[in-house]
Amino acid sequence: MDVRRTAIKFLDDSLFFEQHIGSKLNPESSPRPTTRPLIEVRHTESHDWIRNNFIPWLSGCCEVEEHDLGELATCLSELFNNIDDHTELDVGSVFAQWYPQESRIIVALADFGQGIPLTVDRVCGGLSDYEAIVKAFEYEFTSKSTPRNQGIGLNFLLQNVVENLNGKLEVNSAHGGVVFQKDGNLLRSMPYEQKGYCPGTLIVLEFDTTAIERSDGQLEDITW
C-alpha cells in the first residue's frame, strides 16, 4: 500500500486542500460518511453547526440517541465561546473522524488567536507554555478576557471527555503541548514541549462512544 498516496487521498476527501489551496486535488474526491470534513465555522454559526450538522452525523455513526449527546454538544459550544472571547478572528477550523471498528471519535478544533500561553500570561505570568495550558484547564481559572468569564468551560470539557468518558484530550498552543488522560482513577496531565510552533490553539478530543451514558431522554423538573 502506498501510504503517502493514501494519506493524500484521505486529506483530499476531507476537503483539506479545498480549504487551504482553494480546490481539491482530484475533483471526484468527496467527504467520506465517517468524516465531518475540515471547515471553518464562525462563532455565530458554530452552535447551529454543532446541533444540526455534527450531532445528527455522530448520532447516526455511533447509534447513540441525539438526546444523549447534549454534553458533547456543550463541550464544543464551550470551545467556540472561548474562541469568541479570546481571539480577534471569531472563527474555528473543525474536523471530525469516526472509527466504526473501534467505536472511537476524534474531533479537532483549532483557532487562529494569540494562543493560551499569552492569554494566561496576562493574569498569571512566569509559566512555561505547557504550564499555561494546564493552568487554563483548572476549574474557575479565568483570564477575564470578558467580565462574565468564570473559568468553567475548559474544565467542563476536561471533566466530560477525560473524567466521564475516559477519553483523551490533547492541547497544543505556542511551544507547549499537554495530553490529559486518566491513569487508573486519576486524571493526569502529561505536558511536553513541541518542536514546532502552534499559532493559536489546537484541541483534539478523542473517546470511545460506547462510554456515553444512554438514557430514555426523559425530561425532569429540578428541585433545589
Binding site: 454538544a73 468569564n149 468564570q150 425532569e220
Partner: protein, 98 residues
C-alpha cells in the same frame, strides 16, 4: 408565572442569550413573583448562558431568595446537570463566604 425558554431565545449558548432570559427573570423576581423556567425543547446549555442568566440573578437576589422563587421544568439530563452544578457551586461559595 411560566417562562418558556424556547419562546425567548433560539438556543442557550451565549452570554447574550443569557442576558435575554436574565432580564425577563429579574423583572418578575424583583417583585417577589415565583417563576417556573420551562426548558422544553432546549437541547443543551453552556456555562456562558448560565453565568449570565442565573448566576448574575443569584448575585443580585441572593441564593435563598432565588431558590425560593425559581423552579425549573422539563430539563433534559445535560441541562439538569449543568444547572445543578452551577447553583451548587454558588451555594458552596456562599457557605465559604459566611
Amino acid at each position: 408565572m411560566v417562562i418558556i425558554i424556547c419562546d425567548m431565545v433560539s438556543s442557550c449558548d451565549t452570554n447574550a442569550q443569557g442576558d435575554v432570559v436574565k432580564s425577563a427573570l429579574l423583572t418578575h423576581l424583583r417583585t417577589n413573583q415565583c417563576v417556573a423556567l420551562d426548558f422544553s425543547g432546549v437541547f443543551n446549555v453552556t456555562s456562558s448562558f448560565l453565568n449570565t442568566a442565573f448566576i448574575e440573578a443569584v448575585e443580585e437576589l441572593g441564593l435563598d431568595r432565588f431558590k425560593r422563587l425559581v423552579s425549573i421544568k422539563n430539563a433534559n439530563r445535560q441541562v439538569t446537570t449543568m444547572i445543578k452544578s452551577r447553583i451548587s457551586d454558588r451555594a458552596q461559595k456562599a457557605v465559604i463566604a459566611a
